[in-house]
């Protein structure tokens, strides 16, 4: 069956996060905080699938007419996003993905309509174009896409990743993606040809224990002292966590440092250790996508205050 009809493409992925860089062999584009989608477009219909191959059009009906802005049958790779105050707002996208009441959906898109930013093309006029270098595929986009309020081409710059990173940081965007100009498109592959540069904040917390959750990941229990010098649990972190990382820094078992604590029956308690957590800046929640970066031996737990 033709790939257009079977509609089960896994998009190419980014293998690593790096610090801002410049590279003459790369182009850089903005990373938009939305949902990665593959758009299947022919003369009279649009289908939009997320990475798990679920159709998103029932949730985002305002994008049903994307094909009206495309000149040929094609498969496009891009990001569905919703702008609020001029910036992509992931919380609005997330809220939309769980709305099922058609009237609430209608109210939502009349107020903040979604749009689709295209950064790649996979298929054009019944043929795969994945063997063309990225820079050639970008040229094809110019021939295919007629930009509108709901459909646009991702703008890119050559070489200057650091300057773009600064723009993203000042503007409050998620980050920047650097891609080799010659990179080919590999389905589902985590490629080193594409790198992300994310804008992250850091903060120190006191790790007071850990637990194993259902999917056998380890979760650290993070706390801070309040103004009355009482320990308060503030967050959990699972990404980047391994017990061996804690052991390297002399982890020792202890008892629960907080009296009358509920909901932590399965936790293992340790002597307080200071950990640095990396997270995405967020106006709505304290820390988003927290990741354990390192354990600090040079800072006392008492210095971590709310």
């Amino acid at each position: 069956m033709d790939i257009f009809d079977s509609k089960n493409i896994s998009p190419m992925l980014i293998s690593e996060r790096v610090d801002p860089y410049d590279d003459v062999d790369s182009i850089f584009e903005l990373k938009f905080d939305g949902i990665r989608c593959i758009a299947y477009i022919d003369n009279h219909s649009t289908d939009l699938r997320n990475k798990r191959n679920m159709s998103l059009l029932p949730r985002f009906p305002e994008l049903e007419s994307l094909h009206e802005n495309c000149l040929c049958k094609c498969i496009l790779d891009g990001e569905l996003n919703v702008l609020i105050n001029g910036k992509p707002d992931f919380y609005e996208v997330q809220r939309r993905t769980v709305l099922s009441d058609p009237f609430k959906i209608e109210l939502a898109y009349k107020k903040h309509p979604a749009n689709f930013v295209v950064y790649d093309i996979i298929y054009l006029n019944d043929k795969l174009v994945t063997d063309l270098p990225l820079i050639e595929r970008k040229k094809l986009l110019d021939e295919v896409i007629n930009e509108s309020d709901i459909l646009s081409k991702s703008r890119y710059v050559e070489t200057n990743g650091i300057a773009m990173y600064k723009f993203a940081e000042v503007t409050g965007l998620e980050g920047v993606v650097g891609k080799k100009k010659q990179s080919l498109y590999w389905f589902g592959k985590r490629s080193k040809d594409w790198k992300k540069i994310k804008i992250l904040n850091e903060e120190d917390f006191i790790c007071i224990g850990y637990m194993f959750n259902k999917n056998s990941m380890t979760t650290l229990i993070l706390a801070k002292y309040n103004d009355n010098d009482e320990l308060i649990i503030t967050n959990h972190v699972s990404l980047g966590v391994s017990i061996s990382k804690l052991k390297q820094h002399g982890m020792r078992f202890s008892s629960c440092p907080i009296d009358n604590l509920k909901g932590y029956a399965d936790a293992t308690w340790i002597e307080p250790m200071v950990c640095t957590i990396e997270y995405m800046p967020s106006e709505k929640e304290g820390i988003r996508q927290p990741t354990l970066k390192s354990v600090r031996d040079d800072k006392l737990p008492e210095e971590c205050k709310i």
Binding site: I84, N85, G86
Partner: protein, 258 residues
């Protein structure tokens, strides 16, 4: 759309992992009950009229009124023992002709969608049933209810039609008599039907009350939001990307001068 029931069709040697998805959605606008003065959501409290105090879930047991004012009671444990063992598999008991299942038994429909890897076995079953115009009569447990269903093949896939049990179907309350009618009378009725026949298009029918209700709500929301919460930033992604290009170009220019 979230899967309503993760299951598998079991028939003979075939075992086909599938998910059931709802085929309909709720479109009625639902209102909340608010206190007239404060606009707070009204809460329900369960009160026992004898003790005159609020009862929590822990204080409530189930009772069956077998005679006025007389109850036999059950605890949740006692009821759990009786409940059907949770067999989520869809067991096809036998196949039947499509025309064997009277429409009056149809309750609601689910889309049956194969899990990854099960597409071929699913397609096999669908094609075979469709070409023989047969449906699968099957049993499964959804939640805690034991369901009888037919697996119904269509051009696009398999539909699970939940059936009412025979004991749930009511007889017609008044017997309908069939008076004698003459051929000219029947012919006249046929002409009327012919003249009024056109293709059924479900898209042209709407719940008019819901349409008006939505319009009324939108007008009220618009009235409340005269002050837009958005600041004056342009809500256009192209503008944002063009601003980026300009900024990067300028930074490059400055570097050249330095």
């Amino acid at each position: 759309m979230a899967v309503a029931h993760k299951s598998a069709i079991s028939v003979g040697l075939l075992y086909i992992p599938v998910g059931l998805y709802k085929s309909t959605k709720e479109i009625s606008v639902s209102f909340n009950q608010l206190c007239k003065d404060t606009h707070e959501r009204v809460k329900y409290k369960k009160i026992c009229p004898s003790c005159n105090k609020e009862v929590t879930n822990d204080d409530i047991i189930k009772g069956y009124e077998y005679e006025k004012g007389k109850y036999v009671t059950f605890t949740e444990d006692e009821l759990d023992k009786i409940k059907t063992k949770k067999d989520k598999t869809i067991h096809i008991e036998h196949f039947a002709k499509m025309s064997d299942v009277d429409q009056i038994y149809y309750e609601k429909n689910y889309y049956v969608v194969p899990e990854p890897g099960a597409e071929k076995a699913y397609e096999l079953l669908r094609q075979a049933m469709l070409s023989q115009e047969k449906v699968g009569i099957a049993k499964t447990v959804i939640g805690t209810t034991e369901n009888l269903m037919v697996l119904y093949p269509t051009e696009n896939g398999i539909i699970a039609k939940i059936l009412f049990y025979q004991s749930e179907i009511q007889a017609v309350p008044v017997a309908i008599t069939k008076p004698e009618v003459s051929k000219p009378e029947v012919d006249m009725a046929k002409i009327m039907i012919d003249s009024m026949t056109s293709t059924f298009d479900p898209a042209i029918y709407h719940d008019e009350y819901q349409v008006k209700l939505r319009q009324a709500i939108e007008i009220k929301i618009a009235g409340k939001e005269i002050v837009n919460v958005d600041n004056e930033s342009p809500n256009n992604i192209i503008d944002l990307m063009e601003a980026m290009k300009k900024t990067v170009e300028m930074a490059k220019g400055n570097k050249g001068l330095a």
